[in-house]
Every structure is written in C-alpha cells, then in structure tokens.
Amino acid sequence: MDYIVEMLSITKRFPGILANDDISIRLRKGEILALLGENGAGKSTLMSILFGLYKADSGTIRLRGKEVHVSNPNVAGELGIGMVHQHFKLVQNFTVTENIVLGLEPIKGLVVDLKSAARRIKELSETYGLNVDPYAKIEDITVGMQQRVEILKMLYRNAEVLIFDEPTGVLTPQEIDDLMAIMRNLIGEGKSILLITHKLKEIKAIADRCTVIRRGKVIGTVDVADTDEAKMAEMMVGRAVSFSVDKAPRESGEVVLDISGLNVLSGRKTQAVKDLSLQVRYGEILGLAGVDGNGQTELVEALTGLRKTQSGTIRLKGVDVTHATVRARILSGMAHIPEDRQRRGLVLDYSMEDNLVLEVYGLPPFSHGGFLDRKAIRAHADKLMEDFDVRAGEGSLAVARSLSGGNQQKAIVGREIDHDPDVLIAVQPTRGLDVGSIEYIHKRLVEQRDRGKAVLLVSLELDEIMDLSDRIAVMSHGSIVGIVDPKSVTEADVGLMMTGVSREIAKKGEDK
C-alpha cells in the first residue's frame, strides 16, 4: 500500500500524563483520514508532533516511506505538510495576497512582487474552486472565506499533506457543504488530508477511513463506508452513546424573560443588536440559532448585564432589569453559562471549591459577617462535583486550570443549575466537548426545562439547536428573522434563514 505519511509507535509523555502511548497512524496518498477522539485523547499532541511543534519521546515519522525528523514547523513546511488551525492566523488589515505570501515574499528588485503572487493565488483558487479574491482585505471577508485563505496559504507553499484541525466549528451549514466540496477537489488534485474532528456526521460524509484514539491509545481504524456513527462514537467513548435527546412534549407557561425593542452596540461601536424583541417562557428551551458574529454575543451580554444597552427593555419575571447590575440579575433568577469558559466562566487560578461559589461566596452559608466559611464552601463543592460528575485529581482543592475542558464545563453547568435559576442562558454549552459530556449536559438542560424552568440556548451547532429546542429563534444581522417550530422545518431551512435571505421559510414553519 502506498502511504504518504506514517507515524509509527509514537509515544509522548508530559509531566503526569502519557499523551500518546505507542500510537501509529497511516495516511494513504489521496485519501481523507479522520482522526477522532474525545478532548484530551491526544489528537492535538499527535498532530503537533507531525507539524514539528513537539518532539516525540520515541517513535518514527515516515514520509513517502522515508524516515524524517520534523524538528520545527518550518521543516514541516519544507516537507510539504501544512495545517489549517482551528483559530486562523491572519493579519486582519492585510489583503489575501499579503497574508498568503507572508514569510516568503517574492522579491523583484527592492520591492515585494505582489502582482505575480496574486496571479498565482488566482490560479490556485480557480484550480481548487475556492473563489477567493486575492485583493480583498481579510477584515472584509467572511469567516468561511478566511478559512479558504488558510487553505490557499498551504497550497501556495506546495503542501501535499493537509491537516485540518476542527475546521467546521466556525462555519454555517452552507459553508460546511462548500468546504466538503473543496476537500473533494483537493483529493481530486492528488492531495492527502488529515481531518481532526469530533463531528461524526462530517466523518461519515467526507472521510475514507477513521482512526479512533482514546486516552492516548489507538482503539482502531475503520473504513468509514463499513461503519456508522453509533459505532464510531462507541469506539471513541468506550461505551454506547445515545444521540437522540429524550424529551417529552410539554406546554410552556408564562413569559419569564421579555425582551423588547433592544438595541446594543458592539465593542467596535457598530450596531450589533437591532430593535430585537423576544420572549422566553417557563417550561421551554428556546434555541437561538445564527452564524457566529450576528449579534448573539452582544445580546447575551446585554441580557446578563455585562454590556450596556442603547435602548429597549429587558424584563425578568415582570421586573425591568434593563439597567440592573450583574449581581442583581443573578439574585433575581438569571443564570448564565458563558460562551468562553476559561475567560469568563472560571478563575483558572482558583481552586474548584472557590470557583463553585463564584457568584454566591458572599451569601450564607458560604460566609458570615464578611468571613468565608471554608467548611460550607468545601461541602458545597464536594456535593456539586459528585452530582455533576466533575473529575479532578485533587477533588475540590484542584486548581481549575488543571481540569480538562469537559470537566471545567460540567463544573460551570453544575454551578449555574445549582442556583435554581428561572431562566438559564446557556451559550455554546457543549463547545469543544466530547460526545459523553455533550450527552450529559444536554440531559441536564432538558431536566431544567422539565422542571418548568426556562432555558435560552444560544448555539452555533445546528444539530444541538434542532435536538433540544421547543422553539427556534433565528438571528441574523442583529435581528430575529423568524421563530420556527423545529418539528416543522428542516436543518437546511434553518441554515438558509441564518443567512438572513429567506423569510418565506419562516412563514412556512411559523408556529401558531
């Protein structure tokens, strides 16, 4: 068999953990090999070794059958290995061409020869169906386009092996389809692709083979055509996983959160939320769908008190809280699972027990007369960590930084639900988590709804929105373009609405 990349018996140890334990993967020329594994399974470490960011403790890397030593990313580049990172590495106010040539600028006399570079980029773009304008500025083009610029960067450097690290997280459903088509073009032109992902559906749709990694070890490699999503999920987690969310229908109740005519400015002083009105009711999960950057972040920040509003009102349980402090909103029944758990949700240098009282440390029983009650705080943490299955080496005394992403998120979810909120604003509650944790968190959100509480679920994952929501509000360009019943629309309908073009579909699926 003709392998282009072979990583054989790779072992990499970090203090305290064996990140890669005798891992071998083989990429055939002209195929898409998916690398599937939970967070912390060792996928990123393995790819970092291939890309020259880490050095393996033992094991060999072979390229076209010949052993190579990838000592740094420049060597990887010379060997024809390129990587599209999860977070793009682009200069915002440079053009596409300037970004692509950065580091190997073609020189003509004393000046950079951008013209010939742009011509070559245009050619490449046409060959692979990328449709990128070499003279556009990065800040003016969509996220999907920016990703194509990253792909062009690799192609411009004549990469033969392309690594995609979680490439679809930031894309709309339409853009995901386009990306799949691009990947097929790349394969058609003889490139080989390593795809790191936790989205089983995408593996099924595009990959040829799939290598599953669990706790640093290879569990197996399967031909995607001969397997199904459930089988792959089981290999990844080590037990059977249920995909469908059990959710009995129920009547929603009174309005608990009433937003009317809300206007909010973004950090860059652009109108992020425009004249937005929305009502969330007791006993429902209201899903807020939308492409990243359409005002969801600003809306949530305005609702929770982290951002000032320009005009409009926010009523919580009938009380106007438009100008209330964050603390006042928390105390009157609002909880918030923030988008960025490490930046907003946790004080990473605090112990878990301190983090689990982040909003209530000042209230009895956690403090009396201005002094903290350590015993009560610890008991609280022990209980929450057990209830929500948060695993940490040193239990409640573990520093938050030392926990895995999934455990950090479970801790936040536990803390917020423990406040027994009337309305829980959950933003991307399962971002970057493995299927086991996702299943668990989904169950908890539905439980909250079944207890008659309200959940406002803001997510970029359409699957999640479709599965969990009782109603879906679609947001585009700062406004709600429609509210639909998930049972009467398809994912594609919602995807189209997210682009803001079609109100027809909204009519088709309008509930009552």
Binding site: P15, V326, R327, R329, R343, R344, G345, L346, D349, L358
Partner: protein, 349 residues
C-alpha cells in the same frame, strides 16, 4: 506545593544574588568571605545592630505589604514612595502641632498617616476605575506631587534651624519608646515593629479568609470572570489601592516619626521602591514579605559596617539587592527548574 516552590525560587534568587556579589568583590580585589562576614555581622552582630535591622525591616515590611496587596489584585502600583511621604508628612505635622498624652498622640498619628496614605492610593484607584488611567502613570505622578508638597510644606511651616528639614519630633509624638530603645541598647527600633507584625497578620486574614479578599483576588486573577460573577471590578480596584496606600502611609509614619527624628525634604524614600523587590521575593504573601524585608534589613544595616571594616564600597550591598530583584523577577526560570527536578525525582523513585 506553591509555598514550597516559592521558597525554592526565593532562596535560589538570594543565593545567586550573593554569588554575583562575591564575583563583584573578587573583581575589585576584595575577599568575598571577609566581605560577607562583615556584611552579616554588621546587621546581626549585637543587640543594637539587630534592633536597627528590625527597624529597617519594619518600614520595608509595610511598604512590601502595600505592594503585594496591590499585585494580588492585578494592579502594578508603584505609589508607595508618595504614599509614604504623605503618611510621614501628616504624622510630622500632627507631631509638631498637637500636644496630647503619648498614647493618644500615637493613635492619632498612626490613624491619620494611614488615612493620608489611603487617599493617595485611592486617587489612582478612582482614576483607573472611572477613566481607565493606568495606575503606573498616575502613581508616579502622585509620587512627585507628594514630593513637592513636602518640599513646600516643611520649610514653610515646620522648619527649625535648617531649611531642608523639619523641627525635631518631640518625644511624646515619636514611636520610639524608652523601654524598647533600652532593650536594644539605643537602636532605632520603635513601636512600628509591632504595627508591621499586626499589619502582616491582618493582610493575611483579609486575603485568605474574607469575602473582600476573595473578591480582590478574583479581580486580580481574572477580571472578566469577576465581572461575570457580578463582582464590582472598578470598586474593588479602587479599594485595593486604597488599602495598599494605607499600609504605605503607615510605613511613612514608622519611618519619619519612628526611625528618623525629623523629616528631610527633597528625598524620595527608597523604601517605597525597594518594596517592589520585597514583594517579589516574598511571592506576594504576607509571611514571605516579612521574611524578605528582614533579609533586606540585614543587607541595608550591614553594608555600612562592611565598608568601614574592609573598604568594600557599600554600593556592593545595593548591587546584591538589585541582582536578587532580577533573579526574583525572572522567577519563572526557577519555577521550571523546580518542576523539572521534581519530575526527575519522582521518576527516579
């Protein structure tokens, strides 16, 4: 674990600083063993010198605590010199204007010095909270405002014979008390040493046991998470700098109406800047600050003796302190070394 690592880091910085000092002594042709022996004897050889070391460490402990407290809230205040000056000025003014029984007098002086210092700390705190003025800039400016205020007020209203210093602080307004002075055979030691110990204990309690400390540290570690939790971030920053200022104001009182007998004009107190080193070496923990202040106290009071006995310039003492600061500031190197050694030790087992 963290405590052990901090201790390792601090000791490594001190040892490397002393080694560098030894190299310098060799370079000027002196015998380092002799030099160090006189340096430490100068700080510790008899009860009077120990008293002087303690008196030096008193002021350094208080300014060090002031720095450490601000650092813990994520604020790089360098306002301790100005806050010391304002605390010292108010203490001097009261000492030379009021006439009360000694204990009442001292209570008034210490409280007033703390209030003066805390106002001088609260101003940059407020500017930071309200207008996002960087605390480094505003504290430096306030240092100079304090400097020139002293420069004007003392000669204009409180001088005796010389233009450059205030009149002598009367005994009833001085932190020096006869029993303590006699116990340490006439050294500069004064009641400030107890104030410093109490302050270290109080700050330790605030940081570790109280709701206030929880909030301040949360703001210091992660401002956005503190905001998310509903903690009033601007108010906490202003409060933190206010408390920090109160400590530095207290340091000013222990220096100008305790250690010294009058207030000189035109001097920016070096203890305010040395405090950064004390806080760094003490890893921003109250106990660490006390230990670091004692160590620097020894160096400060011993360097003159070393110079007198060996001809090694006293600046070598200052150089050692400076080098220790460098090593303490690059402590991440030692932290890595410590973790590496520990990992190797574990694997070896």
């Amino acid at each position: 674990m963290k405590g052990l690592r901090d201790l390792f880091t601090a000791l490594a910085a001190v040892i490397l600083g002393l080694l560098a000092g030894a190299v310098l002594m060799l370079a000027i042709g002196a015998n380092p063993l002799e030099g160090f022996s006189y340096l430490f004897r100068g700080g510790l050889m008899n009860i009077e010198r120990i008293g002087n070391t303690l008196a030096t460490a008193t002021t350094l402990t208080l300014t060090g605590l002031a720095m450490a407290f601000a650092f813990r809230t994520g604020l790089f205040s360098i306002g301790a010199p100005g806050q010391m000056l304002m605390g010292g000025l108010v203490a001097t003014v009261i000492g030379l204007s009021l006439h009360l029984p000694k204990w009442e007098m001292l209570t008034v002086i210490l409280l007033a010095a703390m209030i003066a210092g805390s106002i001088w700390g609260f101003i940059p705190g407020y500017l930071k909270a309200r207008f996002n003025v960087h605390e480094v800039v505003s504290t430096i400016m306030l240092n100079w405002i304090a400097y020139w205020t002293v420069y004007y007020v003392i000669p204009a209203h409180f001088k005796a014979n010389l233009e450059t210093e205030s009149a002598r602080i009367p005994d009833y307004a001085s932190l020096k008390v006869p029993w303590l002075t006699e116990m340490f055979k006439g050294s500069f030691i004064n009641l400030g040493v107890f104030a410093a110990i109490v302050a270290a204990v109080v700050i330790s309690i605030i940081l570790n046991k109280t709701v206030l400390g929880y909030e301040l540290k949360a703001v210091g570690f992660n401002r956005t998470a503190a905001e998310f939790a509903g903690i009033n971030v601007p108010m906490n920053m202003a409060l933190s700098l206010g408390i920090s200022g109160a400590l530095a104001g207290l340091a000013g009182a222990t220096f100008y109406v305790g250690y010294a007998v009058n207030m000189q004009i035109g001097v920016m107190p070096s203890q305010g800047m040395d405090a950064i080193a004390v806080a760094l070496l003490g890893a921003n923990s109250p106990l660490g600050v006390v230990l670091a202040a004692l160590f620097f106290g020894v160096l400060h009071s011993g360097k003159g003796f070393m110079n007198a006995m060996t001809g090694i310039p006293p600046e070598i003492g200052d150089t050692i302190i400076a080098i220790i600061i460098y090593f303490a500031a690059t402590s991440v190197l030692f932290t890595r070394l410590f973790d590496g050694l520990r990992a190797r030790f574990r694997r070896g087992q």
